[in-house]
Symmetry: C2
Subunit: 358 residues, 2 copies
DNA sequence: ATGTAGTGTGAGACCGGTCTCAATTCGGAG
DNA sequence: CTCCGAATTGAGACCGGTCTCACACTACAT
């Protein structure tokens, strides 16, 4: 009735009748050991079903063989694939992955980081929730622990980063809508802002959101659309019903937009559902374009035009950059911006009633 | 130019001019310490920016505060939500989560388990890929480490389990299709089998797959459908194109099925795409029902009828069961079977050409 | 004054590995 | 036959926490 104490090197050493040091050399595969002794130790290890304690190993080596990931929302397919990609790459290089979810809350992000650092991860990949509040990220950098930002750059933080050309993509997609004849455009993004109405870019604390809105506005300005800021809808976070309410409000406005660009596939999904519920047709009543080529966008009638982001590649890149640094490389901070691809499907048409500009 | 050695209790103790033991008591929040000393130590800790080393802590306490998850495929939304749910619940109880992906390969599953055990996780939640090859799971049980099986029960392994009523759900869905007039049914599942044609249930090494096929066949037999086994399509794993080819083959058969039950939303997606490519209409040409209420199933035209599985609840349940055991409870193995819900949408209709039975 | 709890503190063992360094053995050169 | 160096091996420190135990000191009853 032993309390099932796990087998240790000392146990193996005793059974193989060698010293703990020698057994450790065989089991850890480092020092020189004679073949005869090696076999004896291996036999003893097998007989006792020895399993090395990685914790103890990490303690003395200082390396944990683990990388930490902090994402905004694993439930979002975008992050789901990113996590998959990062862990595939990590495993390929012999690393494990600890996952934490921030729910897009900075406080949760801080807590997650604290835990991961406590576990002495060898490096971190983070999707920062708020680019105004980055003291905790600076701490990471100061402690010399490799860090890669994912999907969202942060100005003034000299650290590796992987993202997409958000501004250009939004610009191009908006131009495409304007070319189709639209003058009343909306950009809908998931963001908890105070106040919930768009006032200016200083309000946007998520860098990718800011870049996309920049692109949207730039395209509007370039084509002479007036007051495009009024079309920006900050639809709130992932909390229940919040986004739905914002979308409902947008669609039932006195002069609703004739085309919508959605910042992610979840918001686009809400828009699609709301339209369906109201009997609005795409693209006759409203044109729709979304960031991210989510599964569902290709099977609707009509399918939705999207800005495809190479998520899997982004994850791989991020992991590669991180692991290179963990392995000792220390070049200056690299910014890796991957191109997006516009996939035109059937969701863009001419606006219902053409309105002459001014 | 220090090599950035992290601050330890000893450092804090030295600065606060107390013994290492006393500093540890304050920092670890356990032993009795006078208020005056406590303040001094806390001040020193703050000044030095002390961060406890969880690894060292785990080593002496024997608890890591971490639970390990091994899922088949994180990219699958079903597992994505499960992971989200499990980590939410874990964090609520003060645990962290280490994630590993088996890609539905037993060998990868074994490796993942080895690593997680090496990291001394306090407990494990596993989606076993193969119920014939469970020696490694028995090892876990033998070592007294809490284990919960997720989504897939395994006979003869006395361990907690959370799953859905797969057999009943498949039975009911099949009955619904038969009631609509179908006699030529197909059940398509993601499974790498040797040979790739269904021969008998002994071939099915994933328990949920087996249960669902049992239910399908039982409903067919109960309604006098002949040779329903011929409708079972083992469409292969997630490897590229494999499933697509199987589905193509199924649809282009001489006498294609008039109704299909899909074992998961990924396979159903392949079927949907393949049908779309061939111009087949739902439900006029083919009725379709899928397991799991994936996002896309509700926005197609027509929307797809599904067997909704309470994934989030499953994850929460699994985590709760596990944590209870980690916290010392040790009741006999519990099997927690959650009910599914049939969501009827527009994808079921009468078969195109009614065929008289025999 | 002496006994007796009770409280706060320090010294040091311990967890299970890694790793340094000294000791031992053995072969071949001188 | 002796000496040197290479190859193995063992003893024990160390990583950074936790935790046991002994000790000092105070407070109060006897």
């Amino acid at each position: 009735m032993s309390p099932f104490r796990p087998v240790t090197v000392a146990d193996v050493a005793r059974r193989a009748e060698v010293s703990k040091a020698t057994a450790a050399r065989v089991l850890g595969g480092y020092g020189p050991v004679s073949d005869e002794v090696k076999l004896r130790v291996q036999a003893a290890a097998k007989a006792l079903d020895y399993r090395p304690n990685e914790l103890a190993r990490s303690m003395s080596t200082g390396k944990s063989g683990t990388i930490g990931i902090v994402v905004g929302d694993i439930e979002n397919a975008f992050f789901g694939i990113a996590v998959r990609s990062i862990s595939d790459t990590a495993h390929r290089h012999g690393f494990n992955v600890i996952l934490a979810n921030s729910g897009e809350e900075v406080e949760a992000e801080k807590a997650a980081l604290k835990v991961l650092v406590g576990k002495r991860v060898d490096g971190l990949i983070v999707t920062p929730a708020d680019n105004r509040n980055i003291a905790h990220l600076r701490d990471i950098v100061r402690s010399r622990r490799p860090l890669v930002l994912f999907d969202r750059p942060i100005d003034g933080l000299a650290v590796d980063m992987v993202a997409t050309d958000d501004r250009d993509a939004a610009f191009a997609a908006t131009m495409r809508l304007v070319e189709a004849g639209h003058r009343r455009l909306a950009y809908v993004t998931a963001l908890n802002a105070e106040p919930p109405i768009f006032i200016g870019p200083e309000q946007l604390y998520t860098s990718s959101v800011k870049a996309r809105i920049d692109g949207f506005l730039a395209a509007c300005h370039a084509t002479g659309i007036e007051e495009p800021e009024r079309g920006i809808c900050l639809a709130g976070g992932t909390a229940t019903g919040q986004q739905r309410a914002s979308v409902e409000q947008l669609l039932s406005a006195a002069e609703p937009p004739t085309a919508i660009l959605a910042s992610d596939s979840l918001v686009a999904f809400e828009i699609f559902k709301a339209m369906q519920a109201r009997g609005l047709r795409i693209p006759e009543d409203l044109s729709l374009v979304s960031f991210y080529d989510a599964e569902w966008t290709s099977v609707t009638t009509p399918p939705i035009s999207v800005i495809d982001q190479p998520v899997y590649d982004m994850g791989t890149q991020a992991a590669e950059l991180l692991i290179a640094r963990i392995n000792g490389e220390s070049p200056p901070a690299r910014h890796c911006v991957l191109p997006t691809r516009f996939i035109e499907r059937g969701s863009i048409g001419a606006p219902r009633r053409t309105m002459a500009a001014s």
